[in-house]
Symmetry: C2
Subunit: 72 residues, 2 copies
């Protein structure tokens, strides 16, 4: 999952759950500015920040073996 995809996932999930950035930031216990920074593709959140945000959205950070099959 590339950075952009992570962002997209979070953003979509937040929207599906009908939560505003403000709401999510509050629930997750991260600064609103930090969340905005992240969702707008700027910045480079720490694992902890990403975890807190994901957690509230019912998601979790994980590591997966990369699929390296280059099926054209």
């Amino acid at each position: 999952m590339h950075y952009k995809e992570l962002i997209k996932t979070i953003k979509e999930r937040r929207e599906v759950l009908q939560v505003t950035q403000e709401g999510l930031a509050e629930l997750a216990g991260v600064g609103l500015r930090t969340l905005k920074q992240f969702e707008s593709g700027k910045g480079n959140p720490t694992l902890l920040t990403l975890h807190k945000i994901s957690d509230v959205l019912g998601m979790e950070v994980c590591l997966r073996i990369k699929n390296v099959t280059h099926t054209k």
Copy 2:
């Protein structure tokens, strides 16, 4: 995946691939100190750092819906 699990995953993967911290740090383009910090459970890496490390190990960071089934 909790923080400890992420660490364990990375560490195990590195060992399976027979790479030293020094080798991995170099390949991933992160400071040796940073990798050590991470693997020894201290610190809170940025997404970029985690990505660089995972990448070299053939893994990727992803977000997954949490399994919230509390089957006792």
